[in-house]
Symmetry: C2
Subunit: 422 residues, 2 copies
């Protein structure tokens, strides 16, 4: 089974909007075991959309058209699909009723344009809308018709949240049914921090070897920029319960090899992991940030409910603020002594159980004879104070981002070890 | 003149990497007056890359292939282009010498694979590499050849920095020469904050009308997410000097209408604008952040050299920190009084000339009876204290981001007015 993606929108070609939808759909197709060999962007021009769909159907079994389903005159994906199918558009009164109802309940006046979204190619199956006002479509091109196309054309909205929900709910299951796949395929991603890709590969090599014979589950590596490396487990089976069991078993086997290198699962960020550990331990946190300038606090407070455990931060960017407010002793401020004193000072000034601190050289220039990327992390907890040196690669923004996640990871490991010891 | 983009890489189809290159190239083509009707992603498979290039040449005059020029066996764009052209690859000894030299000066051992990057299709023009090791290519398909293709195929690396430099330096000028365009086209973007798109359109309508007759320069609007709206001026002329003059004149005319709504030009962010004003005024800054949790400090310190004017921040996330450390009087902390007191407290505690503060409700739940999006901005400067209420739309992360940029904008306007009054 092969499926292409046609992303519709002149704004995509002009670079005003980056097409992230195709990448997301491509990932879902791969996870569902469906090949995608070509993905195309085309503007809001009916003849060209028709060309793009026909070319795609000539090469593949299915096409997902993304975008161009809205109410404006620019939204002509419906018309283009009808032309490819050699049929007319007709108003679906059930869809029209839903659209009218949606406007009525929101107390808004509906212009007639909105009913264009209820026009569907004859013979099309409607994918009911749940979030926006545009329904999706499933259209079958009969094999050997006069246009020489055969296959299935899906249409989904271009708004990412609406598109994702509809692809998950209706498109992937329909594709799997048509491909004769009755298997359930699920994946789970373990997120890691602290190992290089080659080291990570060595550590989990025993599992990769063990799985080679059965090929189920499979393991893949994904880099995710500065947020660490991901290990994705993909498993296949007759039903969701048995597939989840395979994922559980493989996750346990990988965690036994990786230990506390794993910080989260799927969309779980480092700050979510830290927040869960702080809540569990019943500890409050105070920060002292220098080169990160507030990045660590911004990440912690991105977690809803952070006020339960986060007291605040002292961003001591200026040297005098470190000495006067945090009580850092005279001397160099990118140092073991400064990092420790900042952590102690943060806990004291902010009235927190845990003091966490970061000081270092972000660049562009070296500071006090220390090269760019020299970063000290400080931690004060349970009456103990420690400081850790890391040397981070890259330029100013990368050093700052890596310093923030390194600091959060330090706390995560300490709290994990602490919970294990109790 | 029509030019398509073929982005090469299996990782793009699988969604492991989002193809931002095509969007960027599409924008450059549009600015250069060249149409781009289709953009395609294809995997690392020679037959499919050949298909993608042939299809593109059948529809358009030129194709830019992006990616697949590296040293590994997966990098087969060179081979695919040679197949399309019906020629062989041959080693370009001058390019090979540059690659050997690059490894030698970095003291690294070169594997022979790297010399694959010196293999070019017979008859191709080499675009010399300046940053990486892979040169770009310009290949001409003769009209009416046996493959039925005609036109020009460019190859550029997939690494964004290398790609951009090469497209700007060699590809766009070559396309313009072939299209018979001798004109120089340049653009300049004015970045604005604070007006809705419809209001902005009304304000600059006189300029849009005035330019309609000549069509040079032209004006376009671009949304840029939460960072405000952009007004792009594009001008055309015989040489760069005369085009810059047109841009200067139009910028002045637009600024006269827009006033201090314009915060920057091109890549200039809000924090860069604020930093320049603080430096110019010789003032130091201290922050007090609540719902933003450090976002404002993180933005300010993203500007290299921020240590010249930025003292630091008190992230007073917990209520007690506001009262105890910043001297906020007892009572509600999302209030005019609290925002003003936080600003005064930040300036005092951090020893800064300017105190800037933000307190509000990010959600997910309301606080002290105030709805999500209620945000107070405080400013203490020149012995005056003021507080401003804003009501921001969206959910937690959007409210936090909008609060941060609103606060920076408040300071920007105040410093601009202050500089004008002196």
């Amino acid at each position: 089974m092969r499926c292409e993606v046609v992303a519709v929108g002149t704004e995509l070609l002009l670079g005003q909007v980056v097409d992230t939808n195709s990448a997301w759909i491509g990932e879902q197709l791969a996870l569902a075991g469906i090949d995608s060999h070509f993905q195309v962007k085309v503007g809001d021009n009916q003849a060209r959309i028709v060309t793009a769909i026909r070319d795609a159907l000539a090469r593949s079994d299915a096409v997902i058209c993304c975008g161009g389903l809205g109410p404006t005159q620019d939204d002509i994906t419906r018309e283009a699909i009808a032309e490819v199918m050699g049929v007319e558009l007709q108003r679906d009164e059930a869809v029209a009723a839903v659209i009218r109802e949606m406007f009525a309940t929101r107390g808004r006046v509906m212009s007639d344009n909105n009913l264009r979204q209820a026009d569907v190619p004859e013979g099309a199956i409607v994918i009911p809308q749940t979030r926006g006002t545009a329904p999706g479509l499933i259209c079958l091109a009969p094999p050997g018709d006069s246009h020489g196309v055969a296959g299935v054309v899906y249409a989904v909205p271009g708004v990412p949240t609406e598109m994702r929900e509809m692809v998950r709910r209706a498109v992937i299951p329909d594709l799997q049914r048509r491909s004769g796949t009755t298997a359930t395929i699920l994946s789970r991603t373990l997120r890691t921090w602290g190992l290089a890709e080659s080291t990570l590969a060595e550590v989990i090599a025993p599992r990769v070897d063990a799985l080679e014979a059965s090929g189920n589950p499979t393991i893949a590596f994904l880099a995710s920029g500065i947020e660490g490396l991901k290990v994705r487990i993909t498993a296949k089976g007759d039903d969701a319960a048995s597939v989840r069991l395979l994922l559980d078993e493989e996750e346990a086997a990988l965690r036994a090899l990786l230990g506390d290198v794993v910080f989260g699962v799927d969309d779980e960020s480092m700050e979510v992991a830290v927040a869960a550990l702080l809540r569990h331990a019943g500890l409050t946190l105070g920060l002292a940030e220098s080169l990160t300038g507030g990045l660590v606090g911004a990440r912690i407070t991105a977690v809803p409910g952070a006020s339960e455990f986060f007291r605040g931060a002292i961003v001591s960017y200026d040297r005098a603020v470190k000495h006067d407010l945090l009580g850092v002793p005279p001397g160099p401020v990118v140092s073991e002594a400064a990092a420790g004193a900042m952590a102690v000072g943060a806990a004291r000034v902010l009235g927190a159980d845990v003091g966490l601190a970061v000081t270092g050289v972000a660049g562009p220039e070296e500071q006090d004879g220390q090269p760019v990327g020299t970063v000290w992390l400080g931690l004060a907890l349970d009456g103990e104070v420690s400081a850790t040196l890391v040397r981070l690669p890259g330029h100013r923004q990368q050093v700052r981002q890596l310093a923030a996640i390194s600091l959060l990871d330090l706390l995560r490991r300490r709290l994990t070890a602490r919970a294990g010891a109790r």
